[in-house]
């Protein structure tokens, strides 16, 4: 940087660090707040007494969560659904998006519109359920993946990436070197598209990890994933509170646990994702294209 620009390297560093620090605080504080709220007295939290430190330390919420029998199996189920679902979705995305990115694909325009329509119009819950039921998927894990396995929005992103970010020249070069179409796909396109694959993995992973509604509708109470188990713990707790409240009193005390559970389940459900995210993150930064094409 030239001196004439009026700001030394050092000053601009300080300003940049300060800005990032502020952004960091804005993003991290709500997470931190949920964390300390999960071990605080919820009525003190609601009365606005909690700011930097927990008020009235308690582990009752976590105790209620972890003493539940379903939590371990729920966690394992969620891991299973997330892994299988993510692999399935990403594979489906790739084998749909790659052909769609080829300009010489017959009926390309028709297929684009065909996919696009499903983004705007859905069948609705009951018709979708009937289709799933008649294909015999109800109660099976595959009911979570097969309907909606290709997320059209994501497919368009991947297709555009193939079209715009993978240089035509590279594909041609590989073909001149004697690659078949399949070989090109596996040896050139897939390695070059790692960044977008990482994005798609994160998208699908988060979606499968958080999804409880599909499981609720199709699995019929067997093999519930973690969010559904959490939801049941919460419902159970609030049912205790409201039933007791109607006639027999004790609402305030029971309701406390319900409020506490809300924070605890957020933490328990979010932590695995927070741990996993950094491992995928490194793919976002790498510039794969550096030096691949000359001129």
């Amino acid at each position: 940087m030239k001196k004439s620009s009026g700001m030394s390297q050092r000053t601009s560093d300080i300003i940049l660090v300060a800005i990032t620090a502020i952004v960091l605080i804005i993003v991290a504080y709500p997470l931190y707040y949920v964390l300390i709220a999960s071990v605080s007295d919820p009525y003190k939290v609601y009365a606005g007494k909690t700011f930097l430190f927990p008020s009235g330390f308690t582990l009752d919420g976590y105790k209620a969560v972890f003493l539940n029998d379903g939590i371990v199996s729920g966690f394992l189920n969620s891991v299973k659904y997330t892994v299988i679902g993510t692999v399935f979705s990403v594979v489906m995305l790739y084998i749909t998006a790659y052909p769609m990115a080829q300009k010489d694909l017959p009926g390309r325009k028709f297929l684009s519109i065909f996919f696009l329509i499903t983004m705007y119009f859905g069948g609705g819950l009951v018709p979708t359920y009937l289709v799933v039921k008649q294909t015999g998927l109800v109660g099976s894990m595959w009911s979570l993946f097969l309907p909606g396995g290709v997320a059209v929005g994501n497919m368009i992103i991947v297709r555009n990436y193939f079209q715009n970010s993978i240089p035509r020249d590279l594909i041609e070069a590989s073909q001149i070197d004697g690659c078949s179409k399949l070989r090109t796909f596996f040896s050139v396109v897939i390695p070059l598209s790692m960044p977008i694959m990482a994005v798609m993995v994160v998208f699908s992973m988060v979606a499968y990890w958080n999804d409880w509604f599909t499981a609720l509708i199709y699995l019929g109470g067997k093999g519930s994933p973690l969010p559904l188990v959490m939801r049941n713990i919460l419902i159970k707790s609030s049912a205790t509170a409201s039933q007791a409240a109607t006639i027999s009193g004790g609402y305030a005390e029971l309701n406390k646990l319900t409020e506490l559970l809300k924070f605890c389940s957020m933490i328990v459900a979010a932590v695995p994702m927070l741990i996993f995210y950094p491992f995928v993150q490194k793919y976002f930064e790498k510039g794969f294209m550096a030096g691949a094409v000359k001129g």
Binding site: A47, G122, L125, V126, Y129, V152, V206, A244, I247, S248
Partner: protein
């Protein structure tokens, strides 16, 4: 994230409800239903029943009481029960034509019942209500024609068995025909007596006095001064807005009405000469809202009253920030500060206005007798067998065990009057390592339980807290009720009337509520706004149609009586 089939669960749910309205019953009819004859087939002895249960229930398989009832009726029931998302699952099953033999504990509305009855999904039970098939229920219906009237649809058919809990002041000794529901006055207002004493004030008896007390609470920052909380933390008065037991509505009594949220429709009022009106278009209502805006503007009412949840209200009260609030019990809301509070009676209107001596608490209707808790579908081949099973439910001792728990577990013995005694808190802890409430929750069955007021005098005692509340109601609050007329919650509507209600009620209630909140915050209506509001309710929210419908239904109800 973008998976198409999970986008907008809410939208899908909406769609589901809408579609189930459109498609009604599919799947062929097994029986020739609803032609007024009895299906005499008794070959089926195994039934599938789908329905709701408490989230805390241990399930209905191996349930002592239900097993005994099945054995004595000679049938076997396969239970498919769930505690959440019941409505979606039921809709899916009905629309998909995969019906169980009966639905239990679903709580269908009269609108649903009429619809599913008309299309033949639900069986008309009228021909089956004979002393041969249902001796217990028939005896009850004989003695209580009002229960029969409440479950009979406008076309004279009955699509479900009755259920309801008549928890009334009869249970604490009031005469049966003058008994009031435990829900008659839902909001018990309370005031911090310690603060009043500190300031040398009496417990207010009029809105003017309450206003001065609240002003004094605020000016002296009593929360900081008396309880040592942070300066400025005093909330002179905080409640919810149109909430069940924690709303602001009790304070409107100074203007001669209390527009409780209720099971019929918001703001409905029946005058003593049998005329239906909505209080939200009366001049008293207008004056009331105008008056309370001043309180709001002076900072006496909590700015969060329109948005807070009950947890937030409890949180504030338990910190000692609050001067005046509403709830059923003082201890529950105020926690460790409870001893400082006393009930604040309903107040008279402001001086120098026509409301000076007015103090009118309106009664809220109790809970309705419902017929949406047990409905037999057209899949059922031998309704007689199933109905014989359910007839056993219409007996004090049986229904008591279905509500609380088996004799031998929840009920420990009988006293010399033959009344069943329930397990005490200590015994429950010692024997089952649970509170009595948890024990009860494990056994409770959702279904057609009809708990008549007389059972509390003949079969078992009401819970202590319920008795406490009924005593408060009877002795403290009811004396302020001058006119005990209220719109009967058991009125029966015709199909057309139900359409009208279903169409207009949500809009009407939302519009009134929103406008009331706005006026309280921004200042009462000008003449022009008031006229506009009334026109809006009439033209856009179907108020005139609603009045007509409720009036017609009431007229039929009262002539039938």
């Amino acid at each position: 994230m973008k998976r198409i089939n999970t986008r907008g669960c809410a939208a899908l749910l909406g769609a589901a409800v809408f579609l189930s309205v459109l498609s009604g019953c599919s799947g062929g009819l097994v029986n020739n239903v609803n032609d007024g004859t009895v299906n005499t087939d008794v070959s089926q002895t195994e039934f599938n029943i789908m329905g709701g249960m408490s989230a805390l229930s241990k399930g209905y398989d191996n349930h002592e009481v239900l097993d005994a009832l099945q054995a004595s009726a000679g049938i076997k029931i396969n239970w498919e029960t769930m505690s959440d998302s019941l409505a979606e699952q039921v809709n899916i099953r009905i629309t998909g034509g995969q019906l169980p033999d009966a639905f239990m504990g679903v709580g269908f509305s009269n609108y649903d019942l009429a619809r599913y009855g008309d299309d033949g999904t639900f069986l008309d039970l009228t021909p089956y209500l004979t002393p041969d098939i249902m001796p217990n229920l028939c005896a009850i219906l004989e003695e209580h024609p009002e229960i029969r009237a409440a479950i009979t649809m406008e076309d004279g058919k009955i699509y479900g068995l009755p259920s309801g809990e008549q928890m009334t002041t009869a249970g604490i000794g009031a005469p049966m025909d003058e008994a009031f529901s435990i829900f008659s006055v839902p909001q018990y207002s309370m005031i911090n007596k310690a603060w009043l004493d500190e300031l040398g004030l009496e417990v207010p008896t009029s809105l003017d006095e309450l206003h001065d007390a609240l002003k004094a609470f605020k000016d002296n920052d009593m929360s900081a001064k008396y309880y040592g909380n942070a300066p400025g933390s005093t909330l002179p008065m905080t409640t919810g807005f149109d909430q069940w037991c924690w709303g602001q509505n009790i304070f409107y009594s100074g203007f001669g009405f209390t527009n409780w949220p209720n099971d019929v429709i918001s703001d409905i009022h029946l005058t003593s000469d049998g005329k239906v009106e909505f209080v939200c278009t009366t001049d008293a209502y207008r004056d009331c809202i105008t008056y309370f805006h001043d309180w709001y503007a002076e900072g006496l009412m909590d700015v969060e009253m329109f948005s807070q949840s009950d947890s937030q209200l409890i949180a504030k009260c338990q910190q000692g920030y609050v001067g005046v609030s509403t709830w059923w019990y003082i201890e529950e809301l105020m926690g460790e500060y409870a001893d400082d509070y006393v009930f604040l009676p309903p107040l008279t209107g402001p001086k120098g206005t026509p409301y000076e001596d007015t103090c009118g608490v309106t009664i809220r209707p109790g809970t309705a007798i419902s017929s949406g808790q047990l409905n037999i579908t057209n899949k059922c081949q031998s309704p007689i067998n199933l109905l014989k099973f359910f007839d056993q439910w219409y007996n004090g001792e049986t229904v008591m065990q279905l509500q609380y728990g088996p004799i031998g577990v929840f009920f420990t013995g009988q006293d010399d009057k033959g009344m069943w005694l329930s397990i005490t808190e200590d015994e429950a802890r010692e024997k089952y390592n649970k509170s009595a409430g948890e024990l009860r929750n494990g056994y409770e069955v959702f279904g057609p339980k009809l708990i008549l007021a007389e059972y509390y005098n003949e079969v078992f005692y009401m819970e202590d807290r319920a008795i406490e509340r009924l005593n408060d109601l009877d002795q403290f609050w009811m004396p302020y009720v001058k006119d005990t007329t209220f719109y009967p919650v058991d009125c029966v509507f015709t199909g057309m009337e139900m359409e009208t209600i279903d169409w207009h009620k949500p809009d009407f209630e939302a519009a009134v509520r929103e406008q009331e909140g706005l006026w309280l915050q921004k200042g009462g209506p000008t003449d022009e706004e008031w006229e506009e509001y009334k026109t809006f309710l009439s033209e856009k929210c179907g108020m005139d149609d609603l009045i007509q419908v409720y009036q017609d239904a009431y007229d039929r109800y009262s002539t039938a009586e």
